[in-house]
């Protein structure tokens, strides 16, 4: 019998330093669990996330990319997440327009106090990505095994 290899998605999470990264820390110190496939990159603000980074992640083999920032209105830098919201709304819409599955990109607002929300968001996102399977529409062939 052929063994079916379990699909382990590759998920990149960009978390703003002030809210979501701290929320992720809280998830850790509260010993909440979420899938190990989620790997966090710390950025100062969700407004620092350049669309290039998202595409780069897909290029290199990510199956899902999620951006987490402070709740709108609570940005440590006043307005960064507002800009991020517009940029990502447009970028995600474009990815959808080009036929990329919608579920592969997300933006979630997670505050420093929302450790549980962070874990829930990551659990949900990972299960969505597992459902979508490996990302074949984006990604550089030279990065595939």
């Amino acid at each position: 019998m052929q063994e079916v290899k379990e699909f382990k998605p590759n998920i990149v999470a960009f978390c703003c330093n002030w809210c979501s990264y701290a929320g992720a820390d809280l998830a850790g110190s509260s010993r909440l669990s979420y899938p190990a496939e989620v790997k966090i990159i710390r950025v100062p603000c969700s407004g620092r996330v350049n669309p290039m980074f998202i595409l780069k992640a897909f290029e290199k083999g990510a199956d899902g990319v999620i951006i987490c920032g402070c709740h709108p209105g609570d940005c440590h830098y006043n307005t960064g997440n507002f800009y991020a919201r517009r940029r990502m709304a447009l970028l995600y819409s474009m990815l959808d327009f080009m036929g990329i599955e919608k579920g592969r990109t997300r933006v979630e607002w997670v505050s420093a106090a929302e450790g549980a929300k962070f874990a829930n968001v990551m659990n949900k996102f990972t299960s969505d990505i597992i459902e979508l399977g490996e990302c074949v529409k984006l990604g550089d062939i030279r990065c595939k095994d």
């Binding site: 327009f97 990329i100 933006v107």
Partner: protein, 327 residues
């Protein structure tokens, strides 16, 4: 049209003669009817070759970007739609308004020779247009086509004969073509399934040869060094070595000009592989209008574009990816 060409020549001659300007940026006659070249006329004698015919679709506003530090003054011929780009360039400080003299010229729609050739017509020797029809003479015989069928893409969705910025107008009374719904094709794509859209774009973008014509002709792409040419940007690439790089280039380019693109259609006009690149930009125009209210880049100078602006209750990116076409 010929009458207008004459008026333009006369005015250009006056401006050069009087020393009001040092150069005129216009179109120079080519070998065929359909290949006028954007050119800078600095001498009155050269003006014989200045032309304004049915194929002067090129948007000349970008030629001023290179003149920003020039101490000379240039007159530029701009069709109504080109003036939006000029405004946007002024907003972004990419041109020096004080060394530019804008001559707004009338327009009744320009033709796309690719569309003529797509009809199987080759060996073109002459083209003449009336209001509705175009007569094409070739070495293989003559043809008559409806003008509507062979308009440039941007003229099919003409936004009218208003010059949003100018110093003087010539022939502004020309009747512009009746526009189609410019979001029709975008909406059609949106209504497709994701799989169909993916196939569509894969088919289109797989032809991309990364000649950069779209970028270099685009009046919004005025970066000194494009991120795709900059070895230190992390995403530099000279060719589409993989399918992903086709997507990467066009997504990032569309994003970089989002909210700045005036929808002038140069990208699609110049693409040697006839990729409908303007659809990507137009998708952004449509999204921006729907998400943040109607916005036209360049309709007035010095306005804040929607991507350097925000609202408290903007649409959530997750909501965006939940709407649009079918799953």
């Amino acid at each position: 049209m010929q009458g207008l060409e004459k008026k333009i020549k006369d005015r250009a001659s006056e401006l050069l003669q009087s020393g009001a300007v040092d150069g005129i940026i216009g179109w120079e006659k080519g070998q065929f009817e359909y290949d006028p070249t954007p050119a800078v006329f600095t001498k009155e004698t050269g003006l014989d070759n200045l032309c304004y015919n049915n194929f002067c679709g090129a948007n000349l506003s970008k030629y001023l970007v290179g003149k920003i530090t020039s101490d000379k003054k240039f007159a530029v011929l701009l069709k109504p739609c080109d003036t939006y780009s000029m405004n946007q360039l002024i907003t972004e400080h990419r041109v020096n308004r004080s060394n530019i003299y804008i001559i707004g010229i009338g327009c009744n729609g320009h033709l796309n020779v690719e569309k003529i050739k797509a009809q199987g017509i080759s060996g073109i020797t002459a083209v003449s247009a009336s209001d509705d029809h175009v007569n094409i003479s070739t070495i293989y015989g003559d043809s008559k086509l409806a003008k509507k069928e062979i308009l440039l893409g941007k003229c099919e969705v003409c936004r009218g004969n208003v010059h949003v910025i100018f110093d003087e107008l010539i022939g502004e009374e020309l009747q512009t073509p009746k526009p189609d719904d410019r979001f029709e094709m975008v909406a059609k794509l949106e209504a497709m399934t994701a799989e169909e859209r993916f196939k569509f774009w894969q088919g289109e973008l797989s032809r991309c040869i990364r000649c950069n014509a779209c970028r270099n002709a685009c009046p919004a792409c005025t970066c000194r060094v494009c991120v795709f040419d900059n070895g230190r940007s992390g995403i530099e690439a000279k060719a589409n070595a993989s399918e992903f790089e086709e997507q990467m280039f066009h997504i990032i380019r569309a994003f970089h000009v989002a909210a700045r693109c005036t929808d002038c259609g140069e990208c699609s006009r110049v693409c040697p592989e006839n990729i409908p690149l303007h659809l990507l930009n137009r998708k952004y125009v449509k999204d921006i209008n729907e998400f943040y209210g109607d916005y036209q880049a360049g309709d007035i100078a010095e306005q804040r574009n929607p991507l350097v602006n925000f609202g408290d209750d903007d649409i959530e990116p997750t909501t965006v990816s939940d709407k649009g076409g079918q799953k």
